[in-house]
């Protein structure tokens, strides 16, 4: 009886264990199925290389390039802000402040991650957007720049927590050795600890990028949603995620436009898959040192 129970339980937990593989495969399959039938009809090159996204004009054009450029612009903008701030904060939290303050700062960083993205978008709309419009004297504050700032804010918790883990897992002997040789704390931090933790920090940045590229509500609310290739960061743009979210509601289920959004989803899936894969490689490297 006991043996039988053990056997049944083992099978059940095994099935749950492989659930993740099944779901990843299913997600890929559904995106691929709908996306592929679109790509067959419309043409892969016209989709990837097309400079115009006019899903409801006639003839319809489904060029995903402006959306990819939009996503890339916003992501680069967010990284330029979030990476230095995030890594420096991680250094500050893990190596400089006393334990009491460290716990407070860490909890605050965790709270950032808890704020719903739609709330971040709303706050951006009412505070940052008018500010950007006024300061830079623009026709609209809904720009790549504004959403980069808000997205940087959302990427910071990911970057800080993972970098911090990496920094703290640097063997203490490294630090002691450097300090014993007469290096100041900062020299040790910058030349020894930061270098030793680098693979983990790179992983943190990759995961931060993944977070930003996949963010939907904030970019939909404050990037301006114009599907043109932006010429500067002070112009509106539109990302892949926002296009899916904004247009799915008005499509005919099973139609060309509907399927084109799945094709965008497939592109996003592949990009994030790649990013996570790289991040995982770097995280694995970090553990070996």
């Amino acid at each position: 009886m006991k043996k039988a129970l053990d056997f049944v339980v083992e099978k059940i937990v095994f099935i749950c264990g492989i659930a993740s593989i099944i779901f990843v495969a299913l997600i890929f399959f559904f995106l691929f199925k709908e996306g592929l039938s679109f790509l067959k009809d419309f043409g892969v090159l016209k989709f990837i290389g097309g400079r115009f996204w006019y899903p409801s004009s006639s003839p319809t054009l489904f060029g995903v390039l402006p959306l990819i450029v939009g996503s890339v612009f916003v992501t680069i903008g967010a990284c330029v802000i979030a990476v230095p701030i995030g890594v420096m904060t991680a250094l500050f939290i893990s190596e400089i402040v006393p334990k009491g303050i460290r716990d407070i700062l860490k909890s605050l960083v965790e709270l950032i991650a808890a704020i719903p993205s739609v709330v971040v978008g709303f706050i951006g709309m009412i505070t940052l957007v008018p500010l950007v419009k006024g300061i830079f004297n623009l026709p609209t504050g809904l720009t790549v720049f504004s959403s980069s700032i808000m997205l940087a804010f959302m990427a910071i918790p990911t970057i800080v927590t993972i970098s911090e883990d990496a920094i703290r897992s640097v063997p203490w002997q490294y630090k002691q050795g450097a300090l014993a040789l007469g290096a100041t704390k900062w020299q040790t931090l910058r030349r020894i600890i930061l270098k030793a933790a680098m693979p983990g920090i790179i992983a943190a940045v990759m995961l931060g990028i993944g977070r930003v590229i996949g963010e939907t509500m904030v970019v939909m609310m404050i990037t301006g949603n114009s599907a043109h290739i932006p010429h500067s960061i002070f112009e509106p743009a539109r990302t892949m995620t926002a296009t899916i979210a904004a247009e799915m509601g008005e499509t005919v289920r099973g139609g060309m436009h509907y399927k084109s959004l799945f094709a965008i989803g497939l592109v996003l899936f592949l990009i994030t898959f790649f990013i996570n894969f790289i991040a995982d490689l770097f995280l694995g490297k970090n553990k070996n040192t």
């Binding site: 749950c16 659930a19 997600i27 559904f30 965790e110 709270l111 808890a114 590229i213 509601g249 899936f269």
Partner: protein, 284 residues
């Protein structure tokens, strides 16, 4: 290049680091402050417990609150058992081989898929293929898959933190493997699993993109009756009233944002404090 005195350069650098930490953490305080300051005046029992009126421009947000609660509770009921079982498998049963490595890679990738892609997937499989329609259950299933990697990871690390000697002691008394897990490992891992679950609930309460095409409705004139109903949800409602409705009174938007934010932050704070509390009490 000018060579700075190392002591001086350390001082400068620390100032920069401090500034960075300040920049990283003040916005969250500011956001909470702005929303509390502008939203508190609308909060009343009537706002929380009545239907929206005048095309959302008046009345309350009851259907949105109930919608969010029902989707989130359904989602957690689905994802928690599966996630904990998966964690048990990975931590207690799985061998360290290529197959386990693939499972781990799948979990990592599941965690990285953008939320709107989950929305697409949910639309494709639950709404269209399984013909559940735009409904609470379709949204809950979508969210539960999205939250699965988070639950697995937190459950697994709390199982992992139970010392190996506990298992050895139990197994050496002739107790079977499952009984050991059930009566020795799991009870000691419960606090960690619980805090992880609360954090997950907080996270999915605020998600908008995955339920955009699977569960959320612009406006439903009645409260949800069954799991096959479309519902209004708090985050989607906030999105709609802040972008889609002209001449929307600002204070109602702030009020809605405040309710959502408080729901999420309260749960997160409970989880954070619970974790600190349990960590201090742990005897090993």
């Amino acid at each position: 290049m000018i060579k700075l005195n190392p002591k001086l350069s350390q001082k400068f650098s620390y100032m920069f680091l401090c500034l960075a930490a300040f920049l990283a953490t003040t916005p969250v305080i500011l956001i909470v402050f702005i929303i509390i300051k502008n939203g508190t005046s609308v909060i009343s029992w009537e706002f929380l417990l009545s239907m929206p009126k005048d095309g959302m421009r008046g009345g309350g947000i009851l259907p949105a609150i109930l919608g969010t609660l029902s989707i989130v509770s359904c989602a957690i009921m689905i994802t928690l058992p599966v996630g904990v079982c998966a964690a048990i498998y990975l931590n207690e049963y799985a061998k360290d081989d290529i197959f386990t490595r693939i499972i781990k890679l799948a979990i990592i990738n599941l965690a990285g898929i953008p939320s709107v892609v989950y929305g697409l997937f949910g639309l494709g499989i639950f709404v269209m293929f399984l013909k559940l329609g735009v409904s609470i259950i379709a949204g809950a299933l979508t969210l539960s898959i999205m939250e699965l990697p988070v639950i697995i990871t937190t459950a697994r690390s709390s199982l992992d933190s139970v010392p190996y000697s506990f298992r050895e002691a139990s197994l050496s008394l002739g107790v079977s493997r499952w009984q050991t897990i059930r009566h020795v490992v799991l009870p000691n891992a419960i606090p960690g699993i619980l805090t992880g679950t609360i954090l997950s609930i907080a996270r999915i309460s605020g998600e908008t993109a995955p339920i955009l095409f699977t569960a959320a409705a612009f406006y439903v004139p009645h409260l949800p009756h069954s799991i096959f109903d479309q519902v209004m949800t708090l985050p989607y409602h906030l999105y709609i009233i802040s972008t889609q409705i002209p001449n929307m009174p600002k204070n109602i938007i702030y009020g809605t944002a405040l309710v959502l934010l408080m729901m999420v932050l309260t749960m997160s704070c409970i989880a954070i404090f619970a974790r600190i509390y349990f960590r201090k009490r742990r005897k090993w």
